[in-house]
Symmetry: none
Subunit: 216 residues, 4 copies
DNA sequence: TATGAATGAGCCTTCATTCAT
DNA sequence: TATGAATGAAGGCTCATTCAT
């Protein structure tokens, strides 16, 4: 993911998805409108208009408005979770990351880039997660599913080399995630372009902070 | 705030506000329903029903549905910001907090308690802040308004005593806030009672983590 | 029923039903429009317009368009079946009908009057019964339910006195019903006022025909 | 008709009609769907799907959905009426039917077979006749058109021989039709296969009944 | 000729808001 | 003041019909 993250998840999904150009336009319109106005405040008429198609066309591949929301968030549940998992299982090997700092730097930069590149989708998710328990499940699975396995292995490795403090996975996760969220939140919440952000500086700062915290 | 936080902001607001019992019931119904279902998904009929009043009564003191949302979030904008500010200006004195750890412990426990006691209101706020830029302004003001002054003074004090690392206020704020959010987020997002949480243990852990990060 | 049949079932139902005047107007509009155009071809907007109310009012007491159809046919299922049954159980006593001719005359006149007075409702029922199996059940129950018991007793009585031919109830029912339908069908199918009909002459003719058939 | 009635009118019509195989499939789909769900409840998409063709093809020979209904009922108006008429004019000769019983037996069996073989089409007709006055006209013409002439001649013949009671044609028609309808109605209304029916027994019973009624 | 994507009018239904009682 | 019946403007969705391929 670290590499193909240059594009957003959503754009990558549209590219691969078996959808006509009009249906891609529909989903793009959904993402931008849901992100700007929220799901409930966005009418199917507005979606059709922004997509440049008729309202009937909107319903050709998507049976309901809810399905539009699901399709808009599809990349999150079907890409983020598996990729996060495989990332830690396949890529996060000791030989690849000689020291804890290297791992931290990779994870932090990757997640910050993810948050920034997929701002719109995250905004949509954040608005709906409070109301739709199935979405919450997606997020929970993302963290406590396969991903946790890979993450746990990485932890054990660096705890064995005494580079990483001997805390529980949950506490470590919270510490790292909290740090990332602290930097990413304003960027995601503020309208695009409103908030100046230098991902490299942020990564440097976070790595420095977290290293101090996580070193025994 | 640390003291009267035993109750939620919203309950305290209802107590003081110049509203009839029926109107208090209406606002309570709003908060719970908005928190459970979101603002758009909640009908005024449902509000009236839960409040045990007629639909006409709902519109007696509140001219529109939007006004109900504003009133539900009123305590945030008119209590949190000023209290946060005065807290740091009035209460956070060097003589009160001999060491950085004492200040951290106070702030962390206070904000965690706030997040937990006002879960419902925060949920409502979180859902709407993406869509309503005026709410965003409230949050921004909360941080970069008067509060920043008091926070800045406290920072300068402990930086002068070399107990606090020489970072910018923004970076310090992000670090502390990120830590707190990492712990508070799951509690706020999960349905009430779903997520086990021990505020004292969380405070201890966070103080330990942040002290390591923030000590020069 | 023979007596209060002076009014239609539907009017009697409206009188007794716990409905506001507007809701009565809505149901009346439904019956006439469904009868004229059929259920599917009638829009809720047209119903509202003919009832002289807003479309929202239509949905105040009736949760869906289907419920409007059900309510329009309610008198059939909740009045016809029970009344038919009780009629034969309570009223059709040997002492009341000295001879088979008296019974036939009563039944024929009563059913013809019923068909003519409730033309509109029967038209609605006839259109929908092909598509809604639950309605079919209503009709079947009407005939093979309690009613059949009373009818069977009457049959046995006159078969015992040798005034009635020794056929099965089903064949007797079909013979009598067929005769009545032969007279009633054109009246029900043709638009109101189009088809001249003298119920007394029809009764006389039918009684004469059926007596010949049913006398041993 | 008595002979080729082994097939349904509709199948015979499809055979002779100048239609491509696809168009025949479309009409067959129409008849079955209209019969099962009613005209309004059947979408052109469903017709295309059941016929195994595209929606565009449906509209190739039939300019509108209404035209599909008309074509589905075409056999009724262009076969039943003329055949009924010619039947009585050409076939119902005194020399062919020595006695009234022979005529009755022929007519009853023929019409019962017609009703059963063409259940589906009759169902479609019955649903639409209430709403479309032009269809009603078809039925009325069927009876009071040329057919009545042939029927009238047959009546006069047997009234002259004093085998048939001296009633008006209308009354005789109603009596015979009522009898047939009494037997055919349940078969037509119930879903196929639901209602057990023996056409020969029914014919015997009806001939017996009607002979008693119609003999002076 | 056959396809099926595309259209847009119109449908059923909901809901914020008003107002006579 | 409180009620809740009434409103009517959208909103989501369906479907008969067309037309470029």
């Amino acid at each position: 993911m670290a590499v193909h993250q240059v594009e957003t998840l959503f754009a990558a999904y549209l590219e691969k998805a078996d959808l006509s150009n009009k249906q891609k336009a529909v989903l793009s319109a959904c993402l931008s409108l849901f992100s700007e106005q929220g799901f409930e405040r966005t009418s199917t008429a507005a979606i059709a208009k922004r997509a440049g198609v008729s309202e009937g066309t909107v319903y050709k591949h998507f049976k309901s408005k809810t399905e539009l929301l699901d399709a808009s968030l599809e990349p999150l549940s079907h890409s983020v979770v598996p990729q996060l998992a495989s990332e830690f299982i396949d890529e996060v090997h000791p030989e690849r990351f000689a020291h804890l700092e290297d791992l931290l730097r990779f994870v932090i930069h990757d997640r910050l880039a993810f948050a920034i590149n997929n701002r719109a989708m995250i905004r949509v998710f954040a608005q709906e997660v409070f109301v739709r328990s199935d979405l919450l499940q997606v997020g929970v699975n993302a963290i406590f599913g396969q991903f946790a396995v890979g993450f746990g292995r990485a932890i054990q490795h660096f705890q064995a080399t005494h580079e990483l403090i001997d805390w529980s996975s949950l506490r470590l996760l919270r510490t790292i995630a909290g740090g990332i969220i602290g930097y990413a939140l304003p960027v995601v919440m503020m309208p695009d372009g409103t908030y100046p952000f230098d991902i490299n500086q942020a990564t440097d700062e976070l790595v420095e902070s977290l290293l101090k915290t996580l070193t025994p």
